[in-house]
């Protein structure tokens, strides 16, 4: 039996050796590079586009604007919902919308051509939030039938809502928000297109979950027949829903290929990936749930606002799916009333994402279930078991729940996580929480979505090939297909090859989405294999003169009695062999948009997750200690793949629960980079435990149900419930970040507002008045003065890389050439150039300068570290101070630490996400530009103390610690070396006292400082992130008394902040808990936080206390 057995992915050898070919790896001779010109405005009229100059530039083969394409809309969900063109015509509706596209021989030429296209925009008022879009007199994103920004409104009552309300003896109400999440697939979206003018056919190698939908859209937009568009098979680097319909590169690549007659590759940058591809819809849910005296649910009433972004795409069906979920979750005595509104905004559009509207409403429903259980005095798991669906139930949305093992899932997680014992210990900072989910296994949202075909060829050479039209974006369908075919044909798995995607080779399938991939592909492959098997048995029966019923297929042979014939020998007489194509159909109803009631899926999956968390009272950080995820997903065809789907979904859910959110300022994405997007790294998550109940669904093919999406659905509410259990605060807005938790803890403990006594600090009056004036016109005025986006100019060619071997050569070159820049580790050089923040022409390589690579101690015990020593080597040096090792371990990743140098770390430029991500801010564009952090999202990476026009901070963690260690920097200058205390080295956020021609030679740490008791602590959003807050205490302790102290806070002020007030409170005192408690807060009077980062003051105090406690403990020890 191959079905049900742990099976390696059939392409594991290629995938693990770099041999799999993704879009970027397909090599076609003469391929052109395409780049997209995007709107810098959230809403503007396109007055004119002048592209002629760009068309004439060297290497440029085509420039296309909307005028060059047929005036057609993407179909997406069709009818009135279709609203988007591949290139904007007349109006742009979000920052990043495609305006023009270029194909050139080389990437630099394409980039230069983009810069040469002149677009004149007439700015239009933009609505960038749902609130603004629904306001009276709001600017309209589209001219919809509603006459407002409401794209779709659903007002639907299921069952007896009034009756339910009357039966309720207790209700809970709340507002729950789930922000925008990015798929962040590791492979950037992309397409390679080739036009064959003779055959009049367009070939596409494209990273998609659904070749069919891509073909259909490309054909209708470009005016081709479906048969003229051929999708080829490639490896697909992740999907999670983002590639289940057409994205926005396929048509553009295809149009360019048709125009130029050359192959064209369009692959998005990571920044484009974050900022322009469709993300998870932001949901704002107001929910009321009632229960009766027995604890049975009576009714549910919800008002849902969905942020559509600028175009519909799947917004309507995501909204519809969320309504059906509301009506299906749990048995409900009375009824369910949902009013859902899909609202246009001038932001990049939302789209399909794992869970499809369910994670957002699950967060509301499942958070509220705990609140209701508490109100009823019931255990959350008991309460859920009481109300859980059972096999045979029909939900209010018409879903027929044939096999339902939700109770089994709840019992499994209760046992596995040690629920009873842990639940008894709430409020201690540790807590456990639970949540459930249910999901479709392939919703019939299209007429043909209940049908899939597969073809099987048995070749005379013995190859057995299965052809399937869907795609395997990492979800394991190819292996599932091979397992099913091998089993049905009685052959070894290794004999099966599987071809997917290729639309010439494969029959009809709509693709892998809606958790249908395994259900449909197994069904189709099994149906085709059984048909092939019948043919083979007939052929064998003919040869052997026995009835077909007496023939069986075993070990690659047809067997009758003692006679065996190899199956390839059965087909030798059939020319190319035997080929069979079969269709498999599942019995489902088409989704009903009018009533919202239909049995849309062949089976429904269930899950319960239990989570244990620890909440850090000092920083607000939530650490997940354990996750148990129990799933009723039917039988598992490949348990290894199923568990991997579950664990992966849980971790993606933890990302949404604890960190991931796309953030906007004026409609423009603030954080389009992995660096600024807190998705989980390996050390951020625990080893998730998956439990697969493995109970076959009696009605589903092979007993399987979907698992791809459901695994992420219960995670966020389970975490929120665990946090509530741990510390007694209920966070109703995701993600549950330290700022929200710490503020809630402060409110819980009755901590009032901190007072900063600005009236007594004349030095802050000017800044205070500016901050007052910012929202009152100053920001808008400054913002208008420049384009919001500076549009990074094409990079200047770098003409030389000089490699001097001694310091004088370096200094001389830097002094003589204004356009020269030193490069040491180089980890920030290329990013700064890409971000348009540096434009060097000459690079001066420091890696060959031996003097910079030294590390050692003087006779008096001072540590001297050359500026060119890598962070990794610094930590590896045998006699390195533990404090410095600890700091280094907290910086970035191993890969970066191997490259980055001590000098580079100290001198690195600020990491403010506005500055780095293209905002025309004060530091980038000068005094007439605003600081976007004053009103924008400043919760994590901006100053709470000493900020002036710019609110950024010095990002170097080493800088923070080394200031505490009284370090000095030795600087090579044209006139000879000079020494400067590190504390005076910093002049601003990531800005130093280095003058032109100067470099850092070495860092000196005096022996006396090294002898002190020191500790460094850092709060960050993900493993390897820059500090949100850091603290370093370095104490000279004798018999428990502080003789001297250095206390430095990082990421708090423009430069490492020496907290003299704290030092003063410590000096001469015994280091007792009381001393620590009062001293740690002594600096707060100097703070002047922004509206969003007040919490950092508390977090810094907390980290500082932790440092001092650690010093005390290590001194005692």
């Amino acid at each position: 039996m191959t079905v049900g057995r742990r099976t390696r992915s059939i392409d594991w050898e290629a995938r693990t050796s770099g041999q799999s070919r993704y879009v970027a790896d397909v090599v076609l001779p003469g391929t052109l590079v395409a780049r997209v010109l995007r709107s810098p405005h959230p809403h503007a009229r396109i007055l004119s586009i002048a592209a002629e100059a760009a068309r004439r530039m060297p290497g440029v083969r085509a420039v296309l604007t909307a005028a060059d394409l047929p005036d057609r809309l993407y179909k997406h969900e069709g009818g009135r919902l279709s609203d988007r063109r591949p290139l904007a015509r007349d109006v742009v509706r979000f920052v990043g919308e495609e305006v023009a596209v270029v194909a050139a021989e080389a990437a630099e030429q394409a980039a230069a051509a983009l810069a040469a296209i002149q677009v004149r925009y007439g700015s239009l008022p933009a609505v960038t939030t749902v609130e603004a879009a629904l306001a009276e007199g709001a600017a309209l994103v589209h001219e919809r039938a509603s006459g407002t920004n409401v794209s779709l409104a659903i007002d639907r009552a299921y069952g007896d809502v009034d009756g339910g309300r009357r039966a309720a003896t207790v209700t809970a109400s709340g507002r729950y928000r789930f922000g925008r999440q990015a798929h962040a697939c590791m492979e950037p979206n992309g397409s390679l297109a080739r036009w064959d003018p003779e055959a009049q056919r367009l070939e596409l190698w494209t990273s998609t979950q659904s070749p069919y939908f891509v073909r259909e859209e490309v054909a209708q937009i470009l005016g081709l027949e479906l048969g003229q568009v051929i999708v080829r098979e490639v490896a697909v680097g992740g999907g999670f829903g983002s590639k289940s319909k057409i994205t926005d590169h396929e048509v553009l690549a295809g149009a360019l290929a048709m125009r130029t007659g050359r192959p064209v590759r369009l692959v998005l940058s990571r920044e484009e990936e974050f900022a322009t591809t469709k993300c998870r819809h932001d949901f704002d849910v107001e929910l009321t749930t009632g229960a009766d005296a027995d604890g049975r649910l009576t009714h549910r009433e919800a008002r849902i606002l969905v942020d559509n972004g600028a175009y519909n795409h799947s917004g309507a069906s995501v909204t519809g799916a969320s309504v059906a979920a509301m009506a299906s979750w749990y048995r409900t005595r009375g009824g369910v009333h949902v009013r859902a509104t899909l609202v246009d905004t001038n932001k990049h559009p939302g789209g399909q994402f794992r869970g499809y509207g369910h994670p957002q409403v699950a967060f509301a429903i499942e958070s509220q279930m705990d609140e209701l259980a508490a109100a009823r005095g019931l255990d959350p798991i008991e309460f859920r078991i009481l109300n859980a669906h059972r096999s045979g139930d029909v939900t209010q949305a018409g879903w027929r729940l044939r096999s339902t093992h939700l109770v089994g899932c709840l019992e499994a997680v209760r046992d596995a996580i040690g629920w009873r014992e842990k639940r008894a210990r709430g409020g201690s900072g540790r807590g456990v929480g639970v949540a459930i989910a249910m999901h479709v296994s392939g919703a019939r949202t299209y007429e043909a979505a209940n049908r899939s075909e597969a073809a099987i060829d048995i070749r005379p050479d013995g190859e057995i090939r299965v052809r399937f039209g869907g795609a395997d974006p990492g979800t394991g369908q190819k292996t599932v297909i091979a397992q099913v075919a091998a089993q049905e044909l009685g052959v070894d798995l290794s004999r099966i090859t599987v071809v997917t995607m290729d639309s010439e080779a494969t029959p009809f399938d709509l693709g892998s989405w809606s958790s249908r991939g395994t259900v449909m592909s197994a069904h189709a492959a099994g149906t085709a294999a059984r048909a092939v098997g019948r043919r083979l048995r007939e052929l064998a029966a003919d040869k052997l003169g026995v009835p077909p019923e007496d023939v069986s297929l075993q070990d690659g042979h047809a067997v009758a009695g003692h006679v065996r014939i190899a199956i390839e020998d059965l087909v030798t007489g059939l020319g190319d062999g035997l080929s069979v194509t079969e269709a498999a159909v599942v019995d489902t109803e088409l989704v009903n948009h009018a009533t919202g009631i239909a049995d849309i899926s062949p089976a429904y999956s269930f899950a319960a997750h239990a989570v244990e968390v620890e909440v850090d009272h000092a920083t607000g950080e939530v650490r997940v200690l354990d996750v148990v995820a129990a799933h009723d997903c039917g039988a598992a065809i490949n348990p290894t793949a199923v568990e991997s789907q579950i664990v992966g979904g849980v971790v993606m859910g933890l990302g949404a629960a604890l960190g991931e959110q796309l953030l906007y300022e004026g409609g423009r994405l603030v954080n389009p980079a992995y660096l600024h997007y807190a998705l989980p790294r390996a050390a951020d998550v625990p080893p998730v435990r998956a439990i697969v109940l493995g109970r076959a669904d009696p009605h589903a093919p092979y007993g399987v149900k979907g698992v791809g999406e459901i695994s992420m659905v219960p995670v966020a509410p389970a975490v929120a419930n665990a946090v509530a259990h741990a510390v007694g605060v209920r966070i109703r807005e995701l993600p549950i970040t330290p700022d929200k938790v710490l503020a809630a803890l402060r409110a819980r403990d009755g901590g009032g507002r901190r007072r900063y006594q600005l009236w007594r600090r004349p030095g802050r009056w000017w800044i205070s008045s500016m901050r007052w004036a910012y929202p009152r016109g100053i920001h808008a005025l400054l913002d208008r003065r420049g384009a919001r986006s500076v549009g990074v100019p094409p990079r200047a060619a770098i003409t030389s890389l000089e490699r001097p071997s001694a310091v004088p050569g370096v200094v001389d070159t830097l002094r003589r050439h204004r356009d020269a820049t030193p490069v040491a580790g180089g980890t920030d050089l290329l990013p700064l150039i890409e971000q348009g923040l540096q434009r060097p022409r000459r690079l001066v390589d420091l890696s060959g300068v031996a003097e910079l690579a030294q590390i050692g101690e003087t006779s008096s015990g001072d540590l001297v570290v050359g500026a060119g020593v890598s962070l990794a080597d610094l930590a590896r040096w045998p006699r390195m101070d533990p404090l410095i090792r600890r700091v280094v371990a907290s910086i970035a990743s191993t890969q970066i630490r191997e490259m980055a140098t001590v000098g580079g770390n100290l001198c690195q430029a600020k990491r403010c996400w506005f500055y780095r991500n293209g905002f025309a801010c004060y530091k980038r564009s000068g005094v007439t530009a605003p600081c976007y952090a004053v009103l924008g999202d400043n919760r994590y990476y901006h100053a709470v103390l000493g900020g002036h026009r710019c609110q950024a901070v010095t990002p170097s963690d080493l800088g923070t610690a080394l200031v505490a260690l009284d370090a000095s920097v030795q600087i090579a200058a044209p006139g000879g070396p000079r020494m400067l205390p590190l504390a005076r080295f910093y002049t601003g956020p990531g800005e130093t006292a280095l003058r032109r021609g100067e470099i850092v030679l070495a860092v000196h740490v005096p022996a006396a400082a090294r002898a002190r008791v020191s500790r460094f602590e850092k709060l960050r959003l993900w493993e390897g992130d820059f500090a949100v807050v850091s603290a370093c205490a370095s104490l000279d302790l004798a018999d428990g008394v502080v003789r001297d102290a250095r206390v430095v806070l990082g990421a708090i002020a423009p430069t490492p902040y020496r907290a003299l007030a704290v030092e003063q409170r410590l000096r001469g005192r015994r280091l007792t808990p009381d001393t620590i408690a009062t001293a740690a807060d002594a600096w707060v009077g100097a703070a002047h936080p922004l509206a969003g980062n007040v919490w950092k003051v508390d977090a810094a105090c907390g980290l500082l206390r932790r440092c001092l406690d650690a010093c005390r403990a290590s001194h005692g020890a």
Partner: protein, 153 residues
């Protein structure tokens, strides 16, 4: 300018621009397509290669400064047991980050894995995986190390 590289044991001299990235030289000039670009900013680890035996992100390495380079293509045999362990533990789904994970893993196995699982997870945190939730990757590394220890005994 002229760059003299040793890539997977083979000496190569080629002309490069001063700011050519090692990643592009490997992929576009040498046809070594196993090294993947996912962010181009050194933030994800997909393009990890070894330079002088150390794991680095090839999207930030200037090709002109690189010397002794090992890529997934050169490491596939050394990584044989690790690759099989990846297949057995569900340590990859889409596979796009996998070459980078394997290369990073090889470097760690050479120096010996940290005893503590959290320390191992920290070491692997420069390589983002969006599909698997990392559990398989960590298990695969441990299994490979265990098998190695067993066979050397």
């Amino acid at each position: 300018m002229r760059a003299a590289l040793r890539v997977n044991g083979r000496s190569i001299e080629i002309d490069v621009e001063p700011d050519d990235r090692l990643l592009d030289v490997l992929r576009d000039r040498l046809g070594l397509l196993g090294t993947k670009e996912a962010c181009g900013r050194g933030e994800c680890g997909a393009c990890t290669v070894l330079v002088r035996g150390r794991p680095v992100v090839s999207c930030l390495v200037l090709a002109a400064r690189a010397d002794h380079v090992e890529t997934i293509e050169g490491l596939r045999d050394e990584a044989g047991a690790l690759r099989e362990a990846f297949a057995d533990t569900g340590a990859f789904q889409c596979g796009f980050c996998t070459p980078g994970q394997i290369v990073r893993g090889v470097a760690l196995l050479r120096e010996g894995l940290p005893a503590d699982d959290m320390a191992l997870r920290r070491e692997m945190s420069g390589n983002i995986c969006r599909c698997t939730g990392y559990a398989g990757i960590i298990t695969a590394l441990r299994r490979t190390e265990g098998a190695r220890a067993g066979s050397s005994r």
